[in-house]
Symmetry: C2
Subunit: 336 residues, 2 copies
C-alpha cells in the first residue's frame, strides 16, 4: 500500500517509526508492505513513487527540521498537487487540529477522496465541523474515511463500540474524553488550585501554552461529535454540542463532591435527551471515574448492560498504533 | 442459519428470547434469519427442519419443564443422534460447565465439528481442559469454534483483545474474571466476614450451593486458560494454571490492604513469567480494581499502553448477546 503523509509532527513521525519497527511482522502476519510515497510538512516535501526510505525521512526531519531536506535539491510541491498527482492508495492526514474552519485538512481530505484515495485522519477539526458531509463524500467516491486516532489515542474506543458490540444496540454513552482536563481535575482533588494544576500540566507537556482547546471543552466536544456520528448514527456537528469547560470549577466544589464520595469530571454525555460536555459529579465507584490523564467511556447497551473501556487518550506512538489499525482495516476491506 | 441448541437452561432460553425480540432488525440490519431446528434438554428434545416456533419452545420449557413437551407425542432423541442427522450450520452448546472431564460437552462439540457444523460454546469445561486440541479439530474440519460468552458474559473481552488491538501486540494481561468472588471480597472490604459475605452471595443468587467452582478459583482459572490460548497464542490447559482461591482470605488481610490504599482481589495474571489466579493486592486507583460483581481486564500492549475493559461478567441475556455476536461472526465469515 502506498501512503501519502500530510503533516509530519509527532504523530506522523511516530507512525513512520512504528512501520519501521514492525515491517517484518506486518509482512509475515498481515501480508502488508506499506510504503510512504510522499511526505509533506510546513516547509517542504519528499516524493518517491517506489517508496521513501523511512529512516532517511526521519533523519531529515530530525536534523534539518523538514522532510524537504530528504533530497538535496528537493523541489517543493504543494499538498493539493501531490494528492492529485502522486499515485497512492491512502492519504494520512496529520496536520494540526483547527476547530475554526477545519483547514487545511478539510480541503486536503476532500481532494484525496475525490481522487479516489482512502483517507486516515487523525485530525479532529474536519470531522467535528463536517462529519456527515465528509462521510457522504467518502461513500459517493467509494473510498474509506477512517479516524481511530481522533478519539482515545491508542485506546480503541470507536472500534470497541462498532465491532465488539455487534448484534447489540448501544443506547447511550458517557465518558471522560480529554486527558489534560482530567489531569487538572485530579490534581484539584488532591488540593491544588486550578491555577497550580494548569501550570503543572503545562510544565509536564499535557497542556498547550494556550490551553483553551482543552479546558474550555472544545477537544472533548469534537470527540463527542465523532462518537455521536460514528457510533450512534446521529448527524451532528460542533454547534449541536452543549459545551462548558472546567475554567470555572473551584476547589470548594471539588471538595464538596469528594465528601459525597464523588469526583468532579469533565463528562461528555450522549443519550436520548442530551449531547453535552460539562463538569459533572461522578461517583468514585463508577468505572468511568478514572484519574490522571486517562480517558474512559461507558457504553450502555440493550442486552449486555454497561461496559467501560479505559486507556491513555493521547501520545504519539499510541496514536500511531491507531493509524496502523485503520490501515489494516482499509487493506482488509479493499484488497482482499 | 439453522441452529441446534444443546442444553436449554437460562442462557439457552435467553438466546431464544433475544432472537425473538430482535428477529426484525436481525433481518433488516444483518440480513440474517436464524432459526432453531432442534433443541434438547435433560428430559427431551424438539425437532423441526423448517424451524421450531420460538415462543412455543419457551412455553413448553416454562410450563412443562422440558422442550420434549413441544410436540404432544415427541419422540426422545439422543443428542449425538441429532447432531449427526439434523441438518444445521451451527450447534450451540449450553450444557452446564464440568471442569472434571468436560463431558458431555466435549463429545458433543467434537461430534458437531466432525459433522461439519460450526460450534458456539458457552461452556468453559471443554475449552479449559482441551482448548488446543479443540481448535485443531475445528481447523482440521474447516469449521469455526466460537466462545465469546465463556469470558466476561456479555462484555466482549475476547473480541476486544483480538480485534480492537489488531496491529499492536498484547504483552500481558491481568484481571478480575469472576464476579462471585469479587462480590464477596467487596463485601469483606465493607467489614463483613467471609462467612457472612458468602451467605449473602448465595441468597442473592451470585454463588451456588456448593461455591467451590467460584471461591476456589476454578472458574477464573478456566477463563484464564481460554484467554491465554485465544489471545496470547499459548497452548495451555487447566493444569498449567497456578491457582489459589479466596477461602483463606481473612478480614485483617483485607483491612491492612485497605490501609495501604489497596484492595484484595482474586486476580488472574498472564505474563512472560506467570499464569496464575490468586488473591492479590491491587491499588484502589488501578482501573482494574472494580467492585461488586463486575469483571475487569487490563491489557498491556506494546504501542498503545495499558487498556482496561470493564463490565458485568455474567447474566443470561448478557451471555445471549455474546452468542448472537458469535453467530453474526460465523455468518460473516462463511456465508458471504
Amino acid at each position: 500500500m502506498r501512503i501519502i503523509i500530510v503533516g509530519f509532527g509527532v504523530v506522523g513521525q511516530s507512525f513512520v517509526k512504528l512501520m519501521l519497527s514492525r515491517s517484518a511482522d506486518l509482512y509475515s502476519q498481515q501480508g502488508m508492505k506499506p510504503r510512504v510515497v510522499a511526505c509533506l510538512d510546513n516547509s517542504g516535501s519528499a516524493i518517491a513513487p517506489a517508496g521513501l526510505d523511512a529512516q532517511r525521512l526521519l533523519d531529515a526531519k530530525k536534523m534539518r527540521e523538514t522532510v524537504g531536506a530528504y533530497e538535496k535539491d528537493g523541489r517543493r510541491f504543494d499538498a493539493l498537487e501531490i494528492i492529485e498527482k502522486v499515485d497512492a492508495e491512502v492519504m494520512l492526514e496529520c496536520t494540526p487540529t483547527n476547530l475554526n474552519d477545519g483547514e487545511p485538512a478539510t480541503s486536503l481530505i476532500t481532494s484525496a477522496m475525490r481522487n479516489g484515495k482512502h483517507v486516515i485522519c487523525v485530525n479532529k477539526g474536519p470531522l467535528a465541523l463536517a462529519f456527515p458531509s465528509l462521510i457522504e463524500l467518502a461513500n459517493y467516491n467509494g473510498v474509506m474515511l477512517r479516524f481511530s486516532g481522533t478519539v482515545g489515542g491508542g485506546t480503541p474506543i470507536l472500534e470497541f463500540a462498532k465491532r465488539c458490540l455487534k448484534g447489540d444496540r448501544i443506547i447511550s454513552f458517557r465518558g471522560i474524553l480529554n486527558g489534560t482536563t482530567n489531569y487538572i481535575l485530579s490534581k484539584m482533588e488532591e488540593g491544588w488550585t486550578y491555577g497550580e494544576a494548569i501550570k503543572d500540566a503545562k510544565e509536564k507537556g499535557y497542556a498547550e501554552a494556550n490551553p483553551s482547546l482543552d479546558v474550555d471543552g472544545f477537544d472533548a466536544a469534537a470527540k463527542l461529535v465523532i462518537m455521536a456520528n460514528w457510533i450512534m448514527g446521529m448527524k451532528v456537528t460542533m454547534k449541536d454540542i452543549n459545551r462548558s469547560g472546567i475554567a470555572n470549577v473551584r476547589l470548594p466544589e471539588v471538595r464538596n463532591a469528594l465528601e459525597r464520595g464523588n469526583a468532579v469530571k469533565l463528562l461528555a454525555v450522549c443519550d436520548s435527551r442530551r449531547l453535552c460536555v460539562a463538569p459533572t459529579e461522578v461517583a468514585k465507584t463508577d468505572p468511568v471515574c478514572v484519574n490522571g490523564t486517562l480517558n474512559a467511556v461507558s457504553f450502555s447497551s440493550e442486552h449486555s448492560g454497561q461496559q467501560t473501556i479505559i486507556g491513555r487518550g493521547a501520545g504519539g506512538m499510541e496514536t500511531a498504533s491507531a493509524i496502523l489499525r485503520d490501515l489494516i482495516e482499509i487493506r482488509d476491506a479493499t484488497f482482499s
